[in-house]
Symmetry: C2
């Protein structure tokens, strides 16, 4: 029987059973026929092939509309409470893939209001500062200039507020209580917030003055927000946004979601090569108790955080991943060597990312959207 | 023992015991020494003398600061759900008195978002339309141009939202539940709203970049909002706003608050002379069952809505009001004559008001404040 686990935008705990989540949330699995459809538009992204992007709502409808010549827009976002880590970048990389594959516009929301209202110790000045810092990481991912609009809630609120209050009028406290697990001691800003997260799904429709489909690539933990958004969308005259869900990138400690609160098992985009080596060096693996034992019986890549990093992001070549898997299982490769190889790949990625992030400082105004 | 009654911004019911409200809400009565203080600044307004403006919070502090050269700003508002009636104008007339007496700035909030979120049948377009219609009535009251800023929530939200979320972070659902009587079936916009009503109390401080005292003249039914505002003010770095409270103008049916939902007993600012005559003709009075009986035993001005209209607004001359009282008590005046006299005064007032309201159409842009 499945262990108890919780997945909401505000709490992820326990050992997540992703198949069970599909049932719980009422989403659809990305199956072979969906992968087949993706293949008609171009390369099927490794995260799709590996079922890291594994669930959706109405992705087929998005493709139907696209094929009819009715382009969608992408919407994703980030809660700017601190620096960005690799767990954040993973769905952004997939979002970039979608932007490139379909050549579509992206709205990228920075929820500076949310992070302020949910985190006791953060000021609004701090979340705003982080929003601009994090925007550099977003730009560094290579999103298309001119087709990518990054905005802070507090800086686009005049446009979004009328949409948000239309949404809010149709959402009761009972609903947010049930969906997010809130209770009466939650502050009224956090209770209202889901309507501000709903608004960007309708921004393009608002700007164009006609209904435009919207696809939201996000971590499966964000689905509860958009379940509500979908519930109210048609009532306020818009299409339900479609969704495509990523599993949560695990931390280096093994099973749980990479979390901003766990310094040592989280790799930040501004980490130095030394820090990366140290963190990966200390990572949880599927290695055996001794070298001898591992040479004899092999390791367990299924439970290894280093293998997962390769699988999720750092070894996009399926053949190489399969080779690594076999070498681990057979005991041909030991954890030290495997960790060093991953560290090298992560450092190479981050070095480039950090360079692009520096360059992004001169481009940021071309990406920002304000009222 | 006092009858059961409820006074919140969202429900006024039962026979209001205004003295009891002072105890319930924890406000201060406007006593002789406060009237004495008012008299040092100029004429004491009839509504003050007659205890229609009867309660306050920190009005003495406002005067202390004023005397030290630290001017306050006024803040009041209106929920634009339909046309304006005389019950709305009464506190505005007192607000104008305060603006003139102290020569201070006024922020006038139109809560188009609130009325949309609280009234099922209203659209945001409609509340916006009413906000602009109602603004004409506000301007017609004669507020000082240049010192009076009228704004719609949806049109000043970019400025107010950061203030509102700072407030919201400190207000729990338990609080709004207790203060307004909300339950879990309330929509999350209405739950959030009190923080948007809090924000204008701090607008001048925000614009000036330093703390400026704020005085809120309002109906006592609005006090619950500002009790919350006062509770969170210092925590977000501002002065607690002071308040000065009006009793609620009764309807022509007698005891209850003049209400927008009661067509026949409510006088609108756009009513024709004919409509005014008819409504006042049908008003509840303290008259006796027959002319003979009234000539003999006199009427009861204490319970008469016509007398209350004179007392609240239409007979500012204390001597004349006292004369009318005595003539009624003695049976020297009958209800018909008294009603005709009131109708004449109301029609004269409205005729002028409607003219000023027409002229306001050319001035509205000079009064509106937007982000």
């Amino acid at each position: 029987m499945a262990e108890e686990f919780t997945v909401t935008p505000y709490e992820v705990s326990g050992e997540i059973d992703y198949q069970e989540l599909i049932t719980r949330f009422g989403t659809k699995e990305i199956d072979a026929s969906m992968l087949e459809r993706f293949s008609k538009f171009g390369e099927v992204h490794p995260m799709l092939r590996r079922q890291i992007i594994y669930s959706h709502r109405d992705m087929d409808w998005i493709m139907d509309e696209y094929e009819k010549g009715n382009k969608f827009v992408l919407y994703t976002g980030r809660g700017p409470s601190g620096p960005v880590h690799l767990g954040h970048l993973m769905p952004w990389a997939f979002t970039k893939y979608l932007q490139d594959l379909f050549d579509v516009k992206l709205y990228f929301q920075m929820t500076d209001d949310e992070k302020f209202m949910f985190y006791d110790q953060l000021t609004l000045e701090e979340t705003k500062k982080w929003a601009y810092e994090n925007a550099l990481d977003v730009i560094a991912m290579g999103f298309k200039k001119g087709k990518t609009k990054i905005f802070l809630d507090t800086e686009l609120i005049k446009t979004m507020y009328p949409i948000a209050v239309r949404a809010a009028k149709r959402i009761t406290f009972s609903t947010v209580k049930a969906v997010f697990g809130f209770n009466n001691s939650y502050n009224i800003g956090s209770i209202f917030f889901t309507s501000v997260q709903a608004a960007p799904a309708f921004l393009e429709s608002y700007y164009q003055g006609k209904n435009v489909p919207c696809l939201i690539p996000c971590g499966i933990d964000q689905d509860p927000h958009f379940r509500i958004t979908r519930d109210i969308a048609e009532g306020i005259g818009y299409y339900k946004p479609a969704l495509i869900h990523a599993k949560l990138m695990p931390s280096l400690s093994g099973s749980d979601k990479m979390s901003s609160s766990k310094e040592d098992t989280t790799i930040w985009t501004n980490d130095s090569p030394k820090a990366v080596k140290k963190k990966i060096g200390n990572a949880f693996t599927g290695g055996a108790v001794s070298v001898e034992e591992q040479r004899k019986s092999g390791g367990k890549p299924e439970i290894c955080s280093v293998f997962q990093y390769n699988q999720y992001f750092f070894l996009p070549d399926d053949k190489k991943l399969e080779e690594l898997y076999q070498k681990c299982k057979s005991g041909a490769i030991l954890c030290g060597e495997c960790k060093a190889a991953l560290a090298e790949r992560v450092i190479a990625f981050l070095t480039e990312h950090q360079e692009r992030r520096e360059k992004a400082k001169d481009q940021i105004e071309e990406f920002m959207l304000r009222d």
